[in-house]
Symmetry: C2
Subunit: 248 residues, 2 copies
DNA sequence: AAGTGGTCTAGACCACTCG
DNA sequence: GAGTGGTCTAGACCACTTC
């Protein structure tokens, strides 16, 4: 198989943790134990446990055994960048309607966020997202000129633009930046979401970029209060080695 | 000096990137270049660049040079867990008032979040936070029984409980989990923040835990809409969110 | 004092990108 | 095909925890 040793070890450890073999607070075997058990070098074992540490599953202190911190799985990268992927991940049914798709010159902020020359023509999309049939989110996205045609070609009821771009054009989001705040619903928001003007909305503005850092889209997503909660985990544990995602 | 080689290299690279020597999109020197330049092994160089990748500053693909993705610094761990540290980091003046500190049995949710037996006595704190003199956030925190005494001992105008715990008792937060959503202001919220009932609030609920995973506090923080924006970076290469803190 | 994780070295082979 | 990053090995020394 095209196995990568340290991912294999990490996956086995992850399963052991999730299965309850190592409950929260339990100590993991030492690095040398694991190395011997897997006939791997200590470096490879360290890369495996670093993967789990980066996921927030385990913690460590110099001189003491590694400890299980939690059991839950973290959201994958895709789930933060794609409404459809997120909805699937939490077991809900996502639907969406394009309300408008028009080309127009970028505003100053859009040009800035998309790293385009001011006034470049972008594709502006207004979209209503439904969760289990309920109007849940209004999405206003500016797609960079170089992906506009691909997005325009997508069907009316397209589930996930980002999935479509990946499959049709090989354009994969690799990096995201998100700004999260709250604001009162404007009149268009209120009409589409079937709520009163001034009702609380949770807003997530985000830019997605390719692995070379080229911005793909800049989006302003507004969720009805109570429909969605963002979850973020952070840790002061150094994340010594990076981890690969199962992207694409 | 007590320098750690890979952090030294990472810091130098970070400065080079931030200073503009490597603009966004530029290629970094190869690993062997860096290893030679620093008289370090390739492994050490890889640890250094992995640190920057985890911060979202640089990206990589097998076979090609590493590339600069962005320039901004991310929020440190402390800044996401401590209002005071965050305010300082963005150059604002934070103040706070304890409105009440009372001991009472934990609710079911509090006991669950704090991993305490149901009904354990916790310290419930109601606090108003000011940013540059403006009422900005209402904080309702449940401190675990084993830190309650230390928190009660803090002065009325204490700037940062987490800083205080670290300095006085050696209790350091090491891991955080955050739930972010929006909701309308209740009557107490409205009165304290000097806004109308039903106005949008940005809510951040979070639990902070020690490095062994022992929960310290469970908090419900409500920000006036418009006063605060949360920023999250994620990448398919590095861990979603996170960097090392300059934590003691 | 023994055990454990944190750091570092000096090699090696492979998969991938790029000119 | 040369260069580059991804993975892996087999050692080493140190700082820290634990007993």
């Amino acid at each position: 198989m095209g196995t990568v040793r340290y991912l294999e070890i990490a996956e086995a450890l992850r399963r052991s943790i999730l299965s309850g073999e190592y409950p929260v607070g339990a100590q993991l075997p030492s690095e040398s134990d694991l190395a011997a058990r897997w006939s791997a070098s200590r470096g490879t074992v360290r890369q495996a446990v670093a993967t789990l540490a980066a996921e927030g599953l385990i913690g460590s202190r110099q001189g003491a055994r590694r400890i299980v911190l939690r059991h839950e799985r973290k959201h994958s990268f895709g789930e933060l960048n794609s409404f459809a992927q997120w909805a699937e991940g939490v077991g809900h049914q996502a639907a969406s309607r394009f309300l408008s798709r028009t080309r127009r010159p970028a505003t100053a902020e859009e040009a800035d966020r998309l790293a385009l020359p001011p006034g470049t023509e972008i594709l502006a999309v207004l979209r209503l997202r439904l969760l289990d049939g309920e109007p849940t989110m209004v999405e206003r996205t500016a797609y960079a000129d170089w992906v506009a045609a691909a997005v325009e070609a997508m069907p009316e009821d397209c589930r996930s633009v980002m999935d479509g771009l990946a499959n049709e054009s090989g354009i994969v989001a690799h990096y995201g930046e998100h700004l999260i705040d709250a604001l009162p619903a404007g009149s268009e928001d209120a009409r589409l979401l079937e709520i009163r003007r001034g009702s609380p909305l949770l807003r997530q503005r985000h830019v997605s970029a390719t692995r070379t850092g080229r911005p793909i889209e800049w989006s302003d997503d507004r969720y009805r209060a109570g429909s969605v909660t963002f979850s973020v985990n952070n840790s002061a544990v150094a994340t010594p080695l990076e981890r690969r995602a199962g992207d694409r």
